[in-house]
């Protein structure tokens, strides 16, 4: 995939790639993507996200934000592999975050704070993608999308998170899958 193609993908709005409605979509913008390496996104929490939860973004929603980021990479790769547009893909597949191994939380996120989701791709096979993720909280007032606008790295492990970012959570064995519509998987 060329740099132009990668940039074309990350310039898409998350709701162009994912099927989540506005109240459950936890990505504002994609910041970086490489088909074999990973994907990075950001999200600033809103009052609707922390309502009835003492202005704290729920841990499960931090996981969801990272999961949606990983599923986005899975959707992009499936679109490329099948040579179909994302809209065409959505007619045949449900792009879903279907599983996760371990999660470790190191901090919490309040309303109006910004998350940086750094997802590393470990495997993409049979329409299923295995990723791990680190989630950081950005310093107050920082425009994360602007800061990472010119991010130029080749490997996701080369990402140097600037001073002031705080590691909030780490997740392993996250699984995104393009599930054929109509296929019902048994419960684990």
């Amino acid at each position: 995939m060329t740099e132009t193609e990668r940039n074309s993908w990350i310039s898409k709005r998350p709701n162009e790639i994912l099927i989540h409605g506005p109240s459950k979509l936890y990505i504002d913008k994609y910041l970086w993507f490489d088909p074999t390496e990973g994907i990075i996104s950001c999200y600033t929490t809103q009052s609707k996200d922390t309502a009835d939860h003492f202005d704290i973004f729920r841990g499960v929603d931090i996981i969801e934000s990272a999961g949606q980021t990983g599923v986005s990479a899975c959707a992009i790769m499936e679109s490329v592999k099948q040579d179909k547009s994302i809209d065409e893909l959505k007619k045949h597949f449900r792009l879903a975050f279907v599983g996760m191994g371990k999660a470790r939380f190191h901090g919490f996120v309040k309303v109006n704070e910004t998350l940086l989701n750094v997802c590393k791709i470990h495997q993409h096979k049979f329409r299923q993608m295995l990723i791990s993720s680190k989630v950081y909280k950005a310093p107050a007032g920082m425009d994360v999308a602007e800061y990472f606008k010119e991010l130029r790295i080749e490997k996701i492990d080369q990402l140097q998170v600037p001073e002031g970012f705080m590691l909030v959570a780490e997740m392993e064995d996250m699984i995104g899958r393009s599930v054929p519509i109509g296929k019902v998987y048994p419960n684990p």
Partner: protein, 87 residues
Amino acid sequence: MTRQDVLNGIVKILQDVKTVDQEALKKVSEDSDFIADLGLPSTELINIIAKAEDEFGLEFEDDDVDALGSKVADTIDLVMRTQQPAK
């Protein structure tokens, strides 16, 4: 390669999978269900199929894996079908 060879290969793969019930694996047959009988998470099934590609030196199609059931016999069928493509 016979169906028994494939079953033996699958057992070999499953012996290294932590989530598999190793006691149940001793009694595995073609009728066994990876998920219901062996305790394999459904998301792990894809990894088993990927390992089966390596074990048997084959390459499966995404569509075939989409259509795969969770019985051991379904995976054996897939291996047998893939090693002898329809003419």
